[in-house]
Amino acid sequence: MATQFDNIYHGLSAEIGKFRVAPSGMAWKGVDSEGVTAVPSGDIKWAQWLRVARQFQLRVGLRDHRKEKFDGFAREDHDKLATLLKNNFGITLEAREVAFKGWNWGVTDFQGEELAFTISDRTAFELPLRYVANSNIAGKTEVSLEFANLNPSHAGGSKSKQMGDELTEIRFYVPGTLTKLKGSDAGSQ
C-alpha cells in the first residue's frame, strides 16, 4: 500500500524521480538511474515542509542526525503527505517559515553542519559548511566564505547538463562583533 508522488527531486539532484511512502518507510528512485534512496520507518524522527526554489521540500530528520531532502512537491501535496506521515510513522509534518522580504540583513546561525541565514525569524537560506573551500576574515567586520562544488556534478558532465548557477563566494558584513559567526568554535554554545 504505497502512495506515490511523481516528479520529485532528491536534494539538489538534476534528475527527477518517484517518491513513495509506505508503512515500511519512504523511498526515492530516479527515472534514469538504478539506485534507490530508502528511508526505513524506524529511522524517521521528524519531518518539515518548506518552500524552496523547486516548489516545496519535504525534509526528513533521521535517527543518526542526517537529513534527507526531497524537492518538487506541490502546495496541494501538503495535506496528503501530512496524513501519510502521521498514519504511517506517527510524526507531524511541521511547516517551516521561509523569508521572501528581499532584505540583505538578518542573523547568521550555525545549525549542525549548516550556516543558516534568517530574516525576521524566517529562514532565507542555508549553506552547507562541508563545501566551504576557504574562509577569510578581513578587518574584523567582514567574513567571506568560498565554495567549491556546491552544485552536484552530473553524469556526463557536459556543459548542457549544467544545472544551475553556481555560488562561488559570499561575503558577510558583521558590524561590531564577530561572536555570532564564531559560534562553531569549540567550547562555545
Binding site: N104, F117, E126, T141, L167, I170, R171
Partner: protein, 136 residues
C-alpha cells in the same frame, strides 16, 4: 501595509508577501531578475532567495577560462561610498550580506543578467530622485 512609511533613515520595502508570489522561473535554479517586483532572485543551495533592488549596489562580470563570473555587491553600512540615508538599516546588530559571486559556462546569459540588474538599479535611482524633487 507598512510599505512606503519612513522609518529611521530607511524606507521599508519588501520583495514578496509570500511564497505564492515567486515567479515560476526560480525552479531552474538560475539567477532571475523579476522586474515587476524590482527584485533579483538568487539560487542559494536550493533556496530561491529574493533581494530587492534597494539592497543592491551594483553587478559586474568577468570571464575566466571556460566560466563567466558574476558578482553582486549589496548596500551595507560602514561603506565609504553611498549616502548614509539610503542604506537599509533596521537592526544595528544584524549581519549583512555584502556580496555574492556566481559562475556559469553561459557567459551570454550572465551578460544579460548584469545588464538587467544595472538597468533596474538605474530605474530605481531615477524614481528615488524624482520623489525627492517632488518633495522639495
Amino acid at each position: 501595509g507598512a510599505s512606503g512609511k519612513e522609518g529611521k533613515g530607511w524606507k521599508k520595502f519588501q520583495s514578496y508577501k509570500g511564497e505564492g508570489a515567486l515567479p515560476p522561473e526560480v525552479e531552474r535554479l538560475r539567477i532571475f531578475v523579476d522586474r515587476k517586483a524590482q527584485t533579483v532572485i538568487l539560487p542559494i543551495h536550493g533556496f530561491a532567495v529574493p533581494f530587492h533592488i534597494n539592497t543592491i549596489k551594483n553587478a559586474s562580470k568577468n570571464d575566466e577560462g571556460d566560466f563567466t563570473y558574476l558578482r553582486i555587491n549589496f548596500q551595507t553600512p560602514g561603506q565609504l561610498a553611498g549616502k548614509k540615508e539610503d542604506t537599509p538599516f533596521e537592526d544595528p546588530d544584524a549581519t549583512f550580506i555584502r556580496s555574492v559571486s556566481y559562475r556559469s559556462p553561459d557567459g551570454h546569459r550572465l551578460d544579460n543578467i548584469v545588464k538587467q540588474i544595472n538597468d533596474l538599479k538605474k530605474e530605481a535611482n531615477k524614481r528615488e530622485q524624482q520623489k525627492k524633487e517632488m518633495a522639495d
